[in-house]
Amino acid sequence: MRSPILTLTVGAFLAGVLVGCQPNGTPATNGDPTPGGGPAGTRAPRAVDGKPNLNGVWQVMNTANWDIQDHDAQPGPYPHLLGAWFYVPPGNGVVEGNELPYQPWALEKRKENFTKRMVMDTEDLKVGDPEAKCYMPGVPRATYMPYPFQIIQGTEKIHIAYEFAHADRIVHLDKVDPTPYLAVDTWMGHSEGRWDGDTLVVDVKGLIDQTWFDRAGNFHSNAMHVVERYTPVGTDALMYEATIDDPKVFTKPWKMRMPIYRHLEPDARIHEVQCVEFAEPFMYGTLSRPPLK
């Protein structure tokens, strides 16, 4: 086995050197964002190790962050102040079958979350949508925030860098001891990855119970186990699927599915956003002098 792989690698590099770019569709170093340099094809571009090459800047084109289920258009908050800015765009849900199998108590909790989604409680930071406070979005919500994320694909580690709240995940393809990562629940969880053919499968555990799925108040507990599947569709799209298993909140596992698209701008990048700065007036304004109202 070793010999053909080495031959392939050297061959790939020779090809790369000859044409002056990274081999087999790795984004060229001159900033050309289109892997392979041509129109979208059907075969996923390859990294040097022969795996699908997921390097790039990605983003969904959907409204799941507002509500992962089917939802109508709605006015935004304070339309008398903000006009048509910030209205809720209508959209198809991303949940398979659209219905979420909540346990009865959890359905009530979800309704309460929705009612209080814009509340800032200075006694209890767990009230309200964590997005408004610029908290890390958790998994899977990080994937379908209306902001880009970048995949930096090494060999043993795949780094997923989200623009929102500058949250990060390291997907460990190598064997790591999960003990320190799972010692306490975390906002972005602990991610272990493997390749299933051309699909990157990521197993996510250790997630804290304080992130939501969307602005509609859909939520989970710290028993949630997420299995994500990233499957290349041609050169510039991925099909994303997440299976949610949370026996404390739901009666059975359920799935969400959506495409993710590659940014093709020549200088596509994610920028540094310190959204804490923008959340502070909302969070601390009533405790300031003079108070913000």
Partner: protein, 365 residues
């Protein structure tokens, strides 16, 4: 140390780097500590120099930022001084380990560390309770992290007074007439945003992780989840400003050179929201050049040169070797803002104080 290092010449190119990769990777596994043998920089599978891994930061050593007066005019410690200080650190760690094993607080173990402002970076001794290195701090041969004959921050004359005021405000004994009006009266660290780019690698409490993909190096500090995504594909700087600045990298041989500019000016509204430690506060006129050279499997030579004519009379350079930590192999999630009850309490306490005593802050009132 540099003379003994054997670097892969850049002209080797991708092909050579790939062909020797397996060999050099093996070599890296067996490499000796920094400076003890010729070292061949390993390459990634896609042919770029490999800096990946979890690296220790400033917390691994006790070298002060500025040169203490007792070392004036002297850039390096003698072998005897290094040995004596290392012995002290080893004993301190042993004492700490013993206390921890008995179930007593880690901070108790730090009693006895030599204190004194001239011997440390500001507040570092106090803040050692944040830092559990799990191993004795390393004593390097420099008398200060700042290189050169002076070893001091070349502040313009008007700056030190502002620094002093800043220190007083963020200390545990702020001026009696100081009342926090809003979150903007606290520094960006207390707001869980960042302590800034300059100190990210050498001043933080946690380790640093470097990840790489083709054409990118990403540096992440555990503290504040500071993250810098650095393209090395030849793209130029843009015009968009941000708090950590825009970093653009290039490879010079096996050295990663990172140039950072386009810093935001949002923290500069003196004095009302200018409470970060002065030398760690980015400004719009700031410009940084950093160099990362891997010198062993477990060591990177790091230098950062700081230019900011608004605060400093000239450029100055900080140099620090960072090591692959033997005890900290992972970065844990730094969810600071996500539970910043400290800010809520601090502000509600200020409002209560005003209600009870009618206190009003006199400074810039």
């Amino acid at each position: 140390m540099k003379a003994r290092r054997m670097a892969i010449p850049v002209t080797f190119g991708l092909l050579a780097a790939t062909m020797v990769w397996r060999l050099t990777f093996l070599g890296a596994q067996q490499a000796e500590p920094a400076g003890t043998a010729a070292y061949v920089q390993p390459a990634t599978t896609w042919g770029e120099p490999d800096l990946r891994g979890v690296w220790g930061g400033r917390h691994q050593t006790v070298t002060p930022l500025e040169r203490p007066e007792k070392f004036a005019g002297r850039e390096f410690l003698t072998e005897e001084e290094i040995a004596a200080r290392q012995k002290e650190e080893n004993e301190l760690q042993a004492k700490k380990d013993a206390l921890v094993q008995r179930g007593e607080g880690v901070e108790l173990g730090l009693r006895g560390r030599p204190a004194g402002k001239t011997d440390t970076i500001q507040n570092f001794e106090y803040n050692t309770f944040w830092v559990d290195t799990g191993a004795p701090a390393r004593v390097f041969n420099r008398t200060s992290l700042i290189v050169g004959p002076e070893g001091r921050i070349p502040y313009k004359p008007e700056v030190p007074a502002r620094v002093k005021f800043t220190e007083a405000v963020v200390s545990s004994n702020p001026p009696r007439d100081f009342v926090n009006r809003s979150w903007r009266d606290r520094d960006m660290g207390e707001r869980c945003i960042t302590d800034g780019t300059i100190g990210m690698i050498w001043a933080g409490t946690g380790p640093t992780e470097i990840t790489q993909g083709p054409g990118y190096v990403v540096i992440r500090g555990e503290q504040f989840r500071d993250r810098r995504i650095i393209p090395t594909d030849g793209r130029p700087h843009g015009t968009i400003r941000s708090i950590l600045g825009e970093a653009v990298g290039r490879w010079e041989g096996t050295t990663l050179v990172v140039e950072t500019k386009n810093f935001s000016d949002r923290t500069q509204h003196w004095p009302l929201d200018r409470f970060a430690q002065e030398y760690r506060t980015p400004t719009a006129s700031m410009h940084l050049i950093e160099r990362f050279t891997r010198t062993a499997a477990d060591a990177i030579d790091y230098t950062i040169t700081i230019t900011d004519p608004s605060k400093f009379t000239k450029d100055f350079t900080i140099s620090f070797p960072f090591l692959k930590s033997p005890t900290e192999q992972v970065l844990l999630e730094y969810a600071c803002h996500e539970a910043n009850y400290g800010m809520l309490h601090l502000l509600s306490q200020a409002r209560n104080l005003e209600r009870r005593t009618g206190a009003r802050r006199k400074i810039a009132g």
